[in-house]
Structure formats: structure tokens, C-alpha cells
Symmetry: C2
Subunit: 335 residues, 2 copies
């Protein structure tokens, strides 16, 4: 019999449909994508756009357009949001409300190598990517009209990737997006009831139970969430209560790089390059939350398709047991 | 510059990204799916499961397994939810809450013809499908542990369809799903402020504005929602305030069949058989909402992929103008 599980932060339900259960290994793809783009505008010496910033092996470069870049930030050619000097407030027309699309939309090319997604980079290279995330995060924090910066990655066509050269996208938004609001509300409600942080409590419980743990190092824990929405969904959390992504210190950056690289490498090798998204949820730029939030990174593999049930109900049917997926990844050691 | 639009019921934001705007005709597919399943278990004379009910040209048959069926209800072979005599309440384990997967999961084979999705059926045949929806809806209303019945359709592989023979799925749920709760809350808040129904107000405004209307007949209006989440998203609403789907009378059933068939036919012919989902949102079985809700049917074409932005933020980027999509469908008259 299947089971409905409730996410302890958002209170959203997931159906773990054991009648349809698949084994983790059933999600292994039979081949890797071999499509190659010619004229990739993100490859070295084919760059089309002047960058906004460059990062070399040594960190952020003083030269905006450094030819020795390892990570490179460029504007999105088709931005979903754009910066304007003047911003208007809410516009009203009959029963409808709109806001002009003011914001930031940048692309962070995460390596020179067209083939190497994050999981295949060296620890040092992933550290540099995180340094670049932090740099852009802090750069835009100065824009007073931005409420939130969403850092995210699309890997694979099924995950919405449009350029295959590994990259992240950064969206500076004039509002706090609803999924983050939902988590903030959940965190606050839990705190009102228990006086503790729900994410800290989850970390403690998962470490006791062990069955959903995928990986851990000194400062980070990776586990499959109890109410996983997707096969192999994985959350990376700092073990100490840390509201702000931007307050990572150097050793935390190292451990985050290690945790992120390890789980993405396990996914890549264990399932043969599956499509996935990941994104960071952190306290909004303007903190009205008294440090209650606990920032984290959510990896969402795209191995199932939403149907009318998911779209109509907001409840997701997951045909795998999170515990089996965690066990598979935990015990999978790529050669 | 792009525009953020807020849904007046759920308050969710959508980015209408005009910088990336596509013309409606750009979504036309170059070919129709021609894959054929052999041994379709939904085709006449190949039926594998005994049905739960049959509907012939004359309506519901007294014979459960009527060989002259036009619409046929069968259990789902891999049910996400199953009926049990005893149900337990919420289970708690540490910080986690679960519920056993008690419920109903049925398949409604909507025609004998393997090729004919709803948009290609006769008016009379679509009426029969709606009669079957209503019959199953009311049948399960008697189950006191069911809180909601979601009726939905997946058409096309990208929409999560697993069997190509046209069918609907019915999910009887032990809880009111979050997307419905969100709309109920929206309706209630709007009513507290204005003393009127938000959907009734939208109908009035859309009829004045005309630019988002796709189709209308005496009793139903079809329009592209202002904050459309997908290209060609279409809502079908009864013009009179009607909280309960199940209170449709015969002439309303006819008009609903006409509206549904017309918009699905326009989609099919105008865009060459695009994948889509649709589902019905109505007042939950146990009405604690004082008739405030206004039931409706939402059609959600699957012509774009969610990326990490959508999954991480809950905000959707739509690269089409709802007004252009509505104009395209409104003015498209298949031969």
C-alpha cells in the first residue's frame, strides 16, 4: 500500500507509490547524451558577450575580461528580468496586478571545459564556482530593489537546459518567490511551536536514523528528504544553524564544494548522467526573519514527468522510496 | 521588458518574458505522434480488466460489463491509492507525519476508438464522458473518508501519458490537495474583501476586455488566464456562480461538452496535437466553504519545460503573451 508523506517544512504531501515502485537501478540511463553544439558561445575563444566578471584559479580577477578565466559571468542574452534605473510599483488593471520585470538575470559559466559538469570538476574548481556564487550574491545585495537572489542550475535537456556548456543562472528578483515564502512560513510556525529550527531538528533526526543519509563531512549533511518529490532528490544542509548562504567561511566553502561534488558525481556515475536541477534557498536579502531560516541546497533529478495529477493537485506521486535512493547513492562509490 | 503578473486567486506570480517571446504559431509541432501500441488493454475486445462500470450511447448501462460500451471505467492496475476497510489516522515518526495511501484510483476509457482524444469526438460522445465523470464523482462522494476527487487527463507523453488510448484518471483523495486549498483560501480572502466571487468578477472583466477570450457559449466561458503559467493555458468556467461540479444540469453538461470539445479541437488542429493536461477544481466533498468556490476546468498544454528557476522559486516563466495565445485560438477555425 502506498503512503502519503508530509514535508515537515512546507506541509506539502507526496504520495510514495510503492505499487508502482521502481528500484533505484531502474533509473540508470542506457546512454549518455553525446549531442555536441558547434559554436558554443561559452567555450574559451568563442565567447561572444563581454563578461561581467571573471574568476581565475586564484579567485576573482581584477580584469573583468580575463583570458585565463575558469569561471566567467555573462549577461543572459534573453533575460527574463532586466535592470532599469526607475522602478514602478504594483500596477493595477481591473482585478489584475502586475509588476514590471525588473531584476537581474546572469549566466555563470562554471568551467572552461564544455563537457565537465560540477560533479566532474576538481574540488578546487568547485570551490571557485562557490566563490563566484557568493561574489555575485553579494554584488547584487547592494541593489535595494532586489528581494531575493535565486542561484540555480539546469543540467540536461529534460531539466530545461538550453545551452549544454555547464553553467549556473542567477536571478535577482523584485519579490521573494513563493516557494521560499512557503519555507519561511513553515520555519516560523515550527519555531513558534517548538522554539527550535526545523532543519536543525531534521539534521539531528536523520543522523540518528541514518537510512536517508547520502553523504556527510564535517560541516555538511546530504540526505534524501522524507517526503522526496523526485527519485534521488537530495538536500545539502550546513550542520550548524546558518541563516545566510553568504556567511559561509572558507572551510565551509570547502566542505560545501566537497559535498556538492560528491553527490553530483555519485548521480552522474551511478545513473549515467541523469538530468537534474539544483537551487539554493536562503534568507531573503532583506531579513525580516530574525535568523530563523536555515539555508540549504536542493538537488532535484528529473527522472519523472509531472502529469495532470501533480499539476492539478500540487501533490506529487513519487514511485521510489527515498530510503532506497539514499542507500543506492550512499553505497555507490564510483571508480 | 518582461512583466510579472499575479494570479488574482492564488497570488502566485508568473514572469511573462517578452524578451524571449515566441509567436503562437512557433508552438505548432511539425508532426503528429504516430507511435502505436500493440495489445492496447483499453481497446474493444482486448480489455483485460473487468470494468467497474460501462456507459453506452444511452448513458450508464445496467450491465457493469456492457460489450457495447462507449465509455468504460476500470481500476488502475498500478494504483497510487487503494481502498481499505479500515483507515488509520495520521502516523507520526520523529518530526515526520504520514497517512496510509487510502483512496480511489480509476481509469475512465473515454471512447472505443484508440485514436480519438476528446477534441475529436462528437458532441454527443463528449456529453457521455461528462456524464461518466459525474457518475464516478457522485459514486465516491458516499465514501466518508474521501475529501476530494480529482478528475484529470494526460494527453501525450510529455504530459505524463502512459497509455495512449484516450482516457481520464480519477483520484479519490483522503485530503484536499494543496492547489485546491490555495484556491479556496484565495476565494475566501477575496470574498471577505469584496463580498463577491473572484471567478465571477474575472468572467465579467474578461467579457468586457475580450482580449483573452478563446470561446464562449450560453453557459460557459473559455479564456486564457491573465497570469497564464503555460502557452495556451485555457480555463473553462460556468458563467453562473456554481460551487459544485456535480450540480451541472443537462443543458450545462451540453454546453460544457461543447466548450471543452471546441477548445481541445482548436488546440489539436491549430498546434498539431500538442501534449496537454486538464483537471477539474471544485468544492471539496465536505463543503466547509459555504458555496464560495466556483468550479472550473483548467487546460494546461505542455509546450515548455520547467527548469530550476520554476522548481526553486515556484514562479513560472512563460515565453508567450496570454493575449496572443487567446487570439490565435479564438480566430482559429479548423476546417
Amino acid at each position: 500500500m502506498s503512503e502519503l508523506r508530509r514535508d515537515p517544512v512546507t506541509n506539502r504531501w507526496v504520495v510514495i507509490a510503492t505499487e508502482r515502485a521502481k528500484r533505484p537501478v531502474d533509473f540508470k540511463r542506457s546512454f549518455r547524451s553525446t549531442a555536441k553544439e558547434s559554436d558554443c558561445p561559452f567555450c574559451p575563444e568563442q565567447e561572444k558577450e563581454p563578461p561581467l566578471a571573471s574568476f581565475t584559479e586564484k579567485g576573482k580577477s581584477k580584469a573583468v575580461d580575463d583570458p585565463n578565466w575558469v569561471v566567467r559571468v555573462v549577461p543572459n542574452l534573453y533575460p527574463a528580468l532586466t535592470l532599469k534605473e526607475k522602478i514602478s510599483g504594483l500596477n493595477q488593471a481591473g482585478p489584475y496586478t502586475s509588476l514590471s520585470g525588473v531584476g537581474v538575470h546572469e549566466v555563470l559559466v562554471t568551467n572552461r571545459d564544455h563537457e565537465k559538469e560540477l560533479g566532474l570538476l576538481s574540488q578546487q574548481e568547485v570551490c571557485l564556482v562557490i566563490e563566484a556564487y557568493l561574489d555575485r550574491y553579494l554584488t547584487h545585495k547592494r541593489n535595494s530593489f532586489l528581494e531575493y537572489m535565486l542561484i540555480m542550475v539546469n543540467h540536461g535537456r529534460e531539466a530545461g537546459m538550453s545551452k549544454e556548456h555547464p553553467h549556473a543562472q542567477l536571478f535577482g528578483l523584485p519579490l521573494v518567490p513563493s516557494n521560499v515564502v512557503e519555507e519561511l512560513i513553515g520555519v516560523r510556525k515550527y519555531h513558534q511551536k517548538t522554539k527550535s529550527c526545523v532543519y536543525c531538528d531534521l539534521i539531528r533526526y536523520e543522523k540518528e536514523q541514518k537510512e536517508r543519509i547520502i553523504y556527510e563531512n564535517e560541516r555538511f549533511l546530504v540526505f534524501a528528504p522524507y517526503a522526496s518529490r523526485a527519485p534521488f532528490e537530495s538536500w545539502i544542509l550546513p550542520k550548524r544553524h546558518q541563516p545566510f548562504f553568504e556567511s559561509l567561511d572558507q572551510s565551509e566553502q570547502n566542505d560545501l564544494a566537497d559535498a556538492l561534488k560528491t553527490v553530483l558525481f555519485k548521480l552522474d556515475e551511478g545513473l549515467n548522467d541523469p538530468p537534474f536541477n539544483f537551487y539554493i534557498h536562503t534568507t531573503p536579502y532583506k531579513d525580516h526573519y530574525n535568523g530563523l531560516f536555515h539555508w540549504h541546497l536542493e538537488i532535484y533529478p528529473r527522472l519523472a514527468t509531472f502529469g495532470g495529477f501533480e499539476l492539478g493537485s500540487g501533490v506529487i506521486i513519487n514511485t521510489t522510496l527515498p530510503e532506497s535512493c539514499a542507500e543506492f547513492l550512499r553505497n555507490f562509490f564510483p571508480k
